[in-house]
Symmetry: C2
Subunit: 152 residues, 2 copies
């Protein structure tokens, strides 16, 4: 059985803008392509990743290990993203997105909605991801959250 | 009944550094002081806050409403923070922290451990908080997370 052609081949570095690096991230994620994902992340000791409900992963090796585990268990998902906020200053950029992630071909109601903060750095002429902090609202609504945890 | 004296009165703006604004944030949080908390946040339409397990709150009014609700139901908590990462470029700063939050006087085992990304902006000579994105690891360990959500 042959693989279907990728509709959106993942762009590769150099990424001229934070948006381009982010496009590379989501293309690699949608294609569950570890090599493309690895090229999106900075070689930076402070690189970090927090998956929804997950702990802190620091350093590119730990971050990539987690993505390889996620990709090994998954079918290529369908991902839609909505940009909430974007700030760039010099070689530092912060973007907040609402992700909608569901099994490929699955109905929209099955989507996980994930709030994500991305941090990018401009390094050697290309923007790279240095931080992915994602969280899963536990219930719908702007005041949502675990009521037992409403201390914070 | 008189209020006990605050051991750490919350600093007020101008905040000379992102660290000073962050100190103001945690002092206001620990004192459950809405007025001090309001002074930490930027008057910025893109101001946003994501509480652990919560949805997206946008705009200072919605953000402050959430803090007033949290403070109205809580006793002053004990908060310890560990700095994970800090990046500043021009008037933009990003800091990642591991917070440990527990009822005042409560045993350390009762603490909620929260991973938080803060974004600060330098506006009119003072650093202000423009983003607080907090998430609660659902279980211990660097690979933690809801296994049913391991798609991402």
């Amino acid at each position: 059985m042959t693989q279907p052609p990728a509709l959106h081949p993942a762009p590769r570095p150099p990424f001229a803008t934070p948006e381009a690096a982010e496009e590379g991230f989501y293309a690699a994620f949608a294609a569950i392509d570890p090599a493309a994902m690895a090229e999106v992340w900075a070689e930076d000791p402070d690189t970090l990743c927090i998956h929804p409900g997950g702990g802190l992963l620091q350093g590119k090796a730990a971050v990539m290990q987690s993505w390889m585990e996620i990709f090994s268990a998954a079918q290529p998902p369908t991902i839609e993203v909505e940009l909430i906020s974007a700030r760039t200053q010099g070689d530092l950029a912060v973007r907040v997105l609402l992700e909608s992630i569901r099994p490929s071909g699955g109905p929209a109601e099955t989507a996980s909605r994930v709030l994500t903060t991305h941090v990018f750095r401009l390094l050697d002429g290309s923007w790279y991801l240095v931080q992915h902090h994602a969280s899963l609202p536990l219930r719908a609504g702007p005041q949502g959250g675990d009521p037992e945890r409403r201390l914070h």
